[in-house]
């Protein structure tokens, strides 16, 4: 797609140029319209009520917690696939690690064994180390390339 001799500058490969960024930036940085936030809150409330009616009178089971954990994991994986900002990619990875933690704690509770909690602690420590190193790498990439967009980092592309 791109020649090795012709490495495009940050932002050139997309269908947007500096002018549209400048024009769009104030709109996207400005706070969202209130009606949209209200609609989102109302949708969440309706969702909670519907799920509450469906599950009414039942005790939560391990399966429900693992379903929730799987859904959050899928959302995180989907985010990794569609987002381009390196910082948001890391946030999505955190989401996936955290979803796995829910399943660990649910299974620990079901089997009455505390070892699952110890594993969750290890996951948290590894996630902290991973985020710290990853963010340091992003900062050093940004110093050189002046971009946090993963699509611009094509130097190692075959």
């Amino acid at each position: 797609m791109t020649d090795a001799t012709n490495i495009p500058a940050a932002g050139e490969r997309h269908g947007w140029d500096e002018a549209t960024i400048e024009a769009e930036a104030p709109l996207s940085v400005a706070p969202r319209h209130l009606p949209r936030a209200l609609m989102a809150a109302a949708a969440a409330l309706i969702l909670v009520v519907i799920v509450g009616i469906v599950l009414h009178g039942r005790q939560p089971t391990v399966a429900m917690y693992v379903w929730l954990s799987m859904l959050i994991f899928v959302v995180g994986a989907f985010g990794v696939l569609i987002r381009r900002n390196a910082l948001v990619l890391f946030m999505c990875i955190e989401l996936m690690l955290n979803a796995a933690n829910i399943a660990f704690v649910a299974f620990a509770r079901a089997s009455g064994n505390v070892e699952g909690h110890a594993i969750v602690l290890f996951v948290m420590i590894v996630a902290a180390a991973e985020v710290a190193v990853g963010l340091a790498i992003i900062v050093s990439i940004f110093r050189r390339r002046h971009s946090a967009n993963v699509d611009d980092l094509t130097t190692l592309k075959w």
Binding site: H14, G15, W16, I21, E22, E24, A25, S28, V29, A44, V48, V51, G52, H56, R58, Q59, P60, T61, V62, A63, M64, Y65, V66, L68, M70, L71, V74, V75, G76, A77, F78, G79, L81, I82, R83, N85, V88, M91, C92, L95, N101, I102, V105, A108, R109, A110, G112, V114, H117, A118, V120, F122, M124, I125, A127, A129, V133, L135, A136, A148
Partner: protein, 167 residues
């Protein structure tokens, strides 16, 4: 049950809102909401110690680190904060397909009978720091020491990465 429904929906909603949020700072704040809801779910599963450490480590340390880096890269540079709308159809299709495959692979296991039983009652000290400390310092002593080494290596690595390259 109420706890599970309310905070489960909150966690899932915050996660969905996070990945469709163009503003990085807002995405980080939605991540905090998600992590706090998950902390409450931990509490509802009897994991008091993990509830506290989730709030301290994730919401307190990791997200603050994210926000710190966003500010360090520059709030005045709009392309760091926001992202142009480049969601291509190909990415959405591939993402949706992998989501369906993952759910389809796990769903048969989750509908089995053994997982649908009521949660057994556990002793009061189930998720306390004392119990977890016992497991951590007896069964998992070596892995626990190794995580200390991991954190040391990470710290040294960050110092090396963050050092300015002399030209």
């Amino acid at each position: 049950m109420t706890l599970f429904v309310v905070f489960g929906a909150l966690a899932l909603g915050a996660a969905v809102a996070m990945i469709f949020q163009r503003n990085s700072v807002h995405a980080a704040l939605l991540l905090v909401l998600n992590l706090l809801s998950v902390a409450v779910l931990f509490l509802s599963l009897g994991a008091e110690f993990l509830f506290a450490s989730q709030i301290i480590v994730y919401a307190g340390a990791i997200v603050v680190l994210f926000l710190f880096v966003i500010m360090l890269l520059g709030v005045d540079r709009s392309e760091v904060i926001t992202e142009p709308r480049t969601f291509q159809r190909r990415q959405i299709v591939i993402g949706g397909l992998s989501a369906v495959v993952l759910i389809g692979a796990v769903a048969p296991v989750l509908t089995s009978k053994t997982l649908s039983e009521k949660l057994p009652s556990v002793p009061k000290t189930f998720g306390s720091a004392e119990t977890i400390g016992g497991v951590l310092f007896q069964t998992y002593l070596l892995p626990f020491e190794l995580t200390g080494l991991l954190l040391l290596v990470a710290t040294v690595g960050i110092l090396m990465l963050a050092k300015k390259n002399p030209r």
